[in-house]
């Protein structure tokens, strides 16, 4: 029997990765930067999280029996908080590197972003193996803390597992998306950010610090995307590791289009993408070939949305007007 509740629970768990990635990318794109480095940045977030967790584990007192750090002494709060902070730090640093190249040095955004992806994936592949082999047990233990939902979830039956059974990062993803949406649409800062992305020359004339906004938006956006990488490792894979994370990064970039540059729509979009992503696993008797065709669906749907948006020509659904263009005050 197809268990719809556990299916949806899995989908929402997975959606957090896409949601972090796309929220981060939306903030970046709203400032006029098409950051194609998101897959690399998500990798770096995952690496940063693992690195922070390994630092925390190695700081634990050594247990007498196994002569390894005593995992039973792990503080759930610190075991979650430290990786989050290091993931933000690593991913933010990549964002800063991107901004330096694309804002200050006015390099081509596509080229810079792709290089960030190459570099981020390379660094992660290079450093993750030694960390992972040394601290695997600790990561598994920590991922339990990451995946712990509200204690009363199990007493509420299906309702509880649908709404309260997720790990902290899933709720954080939704909160971040809602906050980002409110900031973009309701605050002065959001208005300025959108102005910078739409028409930097006019924004500059109105006294908005274009470079500053672009820097901050890209760095914050990257940090948020980095949390997606952390979610992938600690929540979805339960502390293990595989390389499919960059595919998740590209899907997040696709999701930005799907959500038409709106973080609140991105919440629904990410759940839909996650459903499409895991659906082949839940269809009984599906062949390998058909499964491959189903993997195509999220990208195909994105293309359709992209086409729909461009057919419609509705102003508020369009990409930011100066997306992909560097701004130099004196260039006309």
């Amino acid at each position: 029997m197809f268990d719809i509740v556990s299916f949806l629970v899995q989908a929402i768990r997975l959606s957090a990765i896409f949601l972090f990635g796309s929220t981060g990318e939306i903030l970046t794109e709203k400032s006029g930067h098409l950051n194609l480095g998101i897959p690399g940045i998500m990798c770096m977030g995952a690496l940063g999280g693992c690195y922070g967790e390994s630092l925390y584990i190695s700081s634990l007192p050594v247990s007498a029996s196994t002569s390894a750090p005593d995992l039973t002494l792990m503080n759930p709060f610190l075991a979650v908080l430290i990786p989050i902070l290091t993931a933000i730090l690593f991913a933010g640093a990549m964002g800063a590197l991107y901004s330096f190249l694309a804002v200050t040095l006015r390099a081509n955004q596509n080229v810079t972003g792709l290089t960030i992806t190459t570099f981020g994936i390379g660094v992660t592949k290079f450093f993750i193996a030694p960390i992972k082999s040394q601290y695997q047990a600790g990561f598994s233990q920590a991922s339990i803390f990451f995946r712990t939902g509200f204690p009363f979830a199990s007493s509420l039956g299906d309702f509880g597992s649908l709404f309260f059974s997720y790990g902290c990062l899933v709720y954080l993803a939704i909160i971040v998306a809602v906050v980002a949406s409110l900031i973009l649409s309701k605050t002065r800062v959001g208005l300025h950010l959108r102005a910078v992305g739409e028409n930097p020359a006019t924004a500059d004339a109105a006294g908005i610090n274009v470079g500053g906004y672009r820097y901050v938006a890209t760095i914050i956006g990257s940090a948020i995307a980095g949390l997606g990488g952390l979610t992938f490792v600690m929540d979805w894979l339960s502390g293990s590791w595989e390389y499919s994370i960059d595919g998740m990064g590209w899907l997040s970039v696709a999701l930005v289009i799907f959500a038409m540059w709106k973080p609140n729509l991105s919440i629904l979009g990410s759940i839909l993408f996650a459903i499409l992503y895991i659906l082949p696993n839940y269809i009984p008797g599906i062949g390998f070939a058909a499964r491959e065709l189903m993997n195509m669906v999220p990208y195909f749907v994105t293309v359709l949305v992209l086409l729909f948006v461009s057919f419609q020509k509705k102003r508020e659904n369009q990409p930011p007007a100066s997306l992909g263009l560097s701004y130099f005050r004196e260039a006309r």
């Binding site: 390099a107 290079f126 990208y299």
Partner: protein, 482 residues
Amino acid sequence: MNSHEAVKKEVREPLFHIAKRDGIVWWKSWLIRLCAILIAFLLCGLLCVVMLRQNPLKMYASMFAGVFGTSRRIWNFLQETAILLCVSLAVTPAFRMKFWNIGAEGQVLIGGLTATACMFYLGGAGVPGPVIILVSVPLSILASIVWAVIPAICKAFWNTNETLFTLMMNYIAMSLVNFFIKIWVPTGTGNLPPLETGRFPVIGGQKSILTIIIVAVITIAIWIYFKYSKHGYEISVVGESANTARYVGINVKKVIIRTMVLSGAICGIAGLIICQGTNYTVNADIVSNRGFTAIIVSWMGKFNPFYMVLTSILVVFLQKGSSQVLTDFSLTGDGFSDIVTGIVFFFVIGCEFFISYRLIMRGKNGGKTDSGLSFGLWLEEKKRVLREKRGAKRSAQDAVPASEAGQKDALLSEPDGAKESLVHAAQEIDAEGSDGTEKITFANEELPPDTAADAAGARPDEAHEVNGEASPTETEGEDDHV
């Protein structure tokens, strides 16, 4: 109107400001790029010491040995370079018209898939090899063209974002390849073993020779296409400004679609070379990110086919060399070549800034930095002058106005006589104010002058003209030093 030159001494000038270069001698630009690559290599050596605790000289030696060590490695290097160059040549026409096609990965993959499909089905049906090649070449090229032209049509007619569209097409292509492999190899490893019939002929005992010939022909053909054909010229015009192109009667839609057909065709050839000329099989990773690397190769080579030969040699050298480093130092992590490539790319990307812009340091060029001065800064000064002017009106009623030329000389030779010069400046503005032009824009302090002036668009033009009256010619001679 030289008054503000003097006032600038008062305003805190930033440490440096940035101005666009008018042009740079070609050897200087290549010197900058070479320096960037050298610095990147030094940094890689430093990382080698810090991360791997190895002698960096050993790393460089290992890189060279990995690329040029044996004749097999050299042939392999040439083959890889030719393939990467082919993909780069494919993306270049589109980039020259600022169509950001990042879907070369998928376009090449579809070409390769079609070629492999021809080998698989026709070869399986007993069709002789030469016939397979005759069928597969046009079919593969056609498949790649279709893959490339779909986003182009959407861009041309509905202005769909081509970067995102082509990116998505990559993944659809990958899923298609996985789908077909699952059909062809339903059980077992899930890898299609190299197919026997329908391979490209091997010339001179090395399969790379044919590849190199094909790619060399394409390189020269593309260069001629850009340099001497009307199409090439139209591409450049569309790249500069689609509106200009429209104005001079170029059919922009046609140019976009036609260029992407060309792009797709070359991608198809690259797919043929990869699948029918090198690996004789296909999988989703067979293009191994060349579609993305090609973008960087093409961009680093300034979209010039001959420069791109150099950049693709550099990139393949980095990748081959650093994977040899990995083997020689028996490292576990396999991301090392990506790290090295990434660092070199960062430096090359960064150095372009110093080729197209120059920094003007504070205090350099005496009082002649006007041409590079940003408009906002200039406006700040202007406001200041106006504020001073009001004071000056009251306090300096009896000052004798100096002649304009004499005033300028005095100001230049006497940078510290700021107070005095302010008075002069104020008077001059006062005098100018009577003819109206200046007063209209700036006298109204309530309205933020930045907004009004900058948004008007034409204003900064005017301002610069007035501002830099004499200076462009004066500073031009000094532009070139880096």
